[in-house]
């Protein structure tokens, strides 16, 4: 485990996370229920099955989306 930090962008906002953080880790850290969100990393969908395995890289741009009320 290293203390070095990664600079990423989540839903348009810059964030710093510890290197080694996985997509699943980020989602959990954000207090989100994993079954309620879908994640795009650098414009590519990260299948939920891979959230555990996929680690974030410096400069990653993520979109984390869910459903809201709409017509």
């Amino acid at each position: 485990m290293s203390g070095s930090m990664l600079q990423i962008v989540v839903n348009g906002e810059a964030r710093a996370v510890e290197s080694g953080t996985t997509v699943a880790g980020l989602v959990t850290a954000l207090g989100l229920q994993r079954e309620h969100v879908a994640v795009e990393r650098n414009r590519e969908i990260v299948p939920r099955a891979e959230h555990e395995a996929r680690s974030l890289a410096d400069g990653d741009v993520l979109e984390i989306v869910t459903f809201v009320g709409g017509g």
Partner: protein, 261 residues
């Protein structure tokens, strides 16, 4: 009292057999409680939802309180101005596990929110190739609707009037043309403002109506949900019953003979 509808009047949308002909949105409500109450009173079996970035400050998530055993969620692409954005949005919806049927909506103008039919055709083609069951929001344009149904859309959803305008059916004549040629369900989407609009839409022979603002922005949304549920059934039953002919002159309803003299 007679039941609200004859049990045999069901319809089929993308392989689903449905009893309710009213599809409702989940936007613009005061809160989750009001949304749930209105969904229930509307009798809807399908409800639309929008895909957005997670709001980290939101206390609860729609997916945590909506009854997915009862309602089929219909993700929309509201806010998309290009085929690419719409396709990207629905791929994310699929990743969320909620994309059995999708509402394709590609907007052409922020003021009127009228559809860009050209982009909608392009997006529909891609989505159908990827196996989506596509329900496109489209102008009341028989030519575009025919192309969409021929392309493999699961329904066509011509608008009654601009989204959220409540102006009612602006072009019943074109809706009639669309029904005449339809090989898939025709659902009027957007523009209905009150119960008589919903009934009138159904009387044109369409299969269903999709609405949101007319219920959510009524003074009493729960009561309007009741009104819409019944207005839809009333219009449908009137269509099936076959209305009387319109006459230019009068026609007595009491016997004209046997009068005292």
């Amino acid at each position: 009292m007679a039941t609200e509808q004859t049990s045999d009047d069901t319809w089929t949308l993308a392989g689903r057999t449905l009893r309710s002909r009213l599809i409702v949105g989940t936007g613009k409500y005061r809160d989750a409680e009001q949304t749930k109450a209105c969904l229930e009173r509307s009798g809807a079996e399908i409800v639309t939802v929008a895909l957005r970035r997670v709001d980290l400050s939101a206390k609860d998530n729609l997916l945590s309180w909506i009854d997915r055993d009862r309602y089929t969620l219909l993700p929309n692409t509201a806010g998309c101005y290009t085929a690419d954005e719409a396709v990207r949005t629905l791929r994310l919806a699929r990743e969320l596990g909620i994309a059995d049927i999708v509402k394709l909506e590609v907007i052409g103008d922020p003021k009127t929110l009228l559809p860009d039919n050209e982009q909608t055709l392009a997006a529909a083609k891609i989505l159908i190739d990827e196996g989506f069951e596509v329900l496109p929001y489209v102008s009341a344009d028989p030519i575009v609707c025919r192309k969409l149904q021929d392309m493999g859309c699961s329904a066509v959803m011509p608008l009654a009037a601009p989204i959220g305008s409540g102006m009612g059916i602006r072009n019943p004549h074109n809706i009639g043309f669309i029904v005449e040629q339809a090989t898939v369900p025709v659902i009027v989407d957007a523009g209905v403002g009150t119960a008589s609009d919903a009934a009138k839409a159904m009387e044109l022979g369409i299969d269903g109506v999709l609405m949101n603002t007319a219920i959510a922005q009524a003074k009493e949304p729960e009561r309007m949900a009741d009104a819409m549920r019944m207005g839809i059934i009333a219009g449908r039953q009137a269509y099936l019953a076959g209305r009387m002919p319109i006459r230019a002159h009068a026609n007595a309803s009491s016997p004209t003979g046997g009068l005292i003299e």
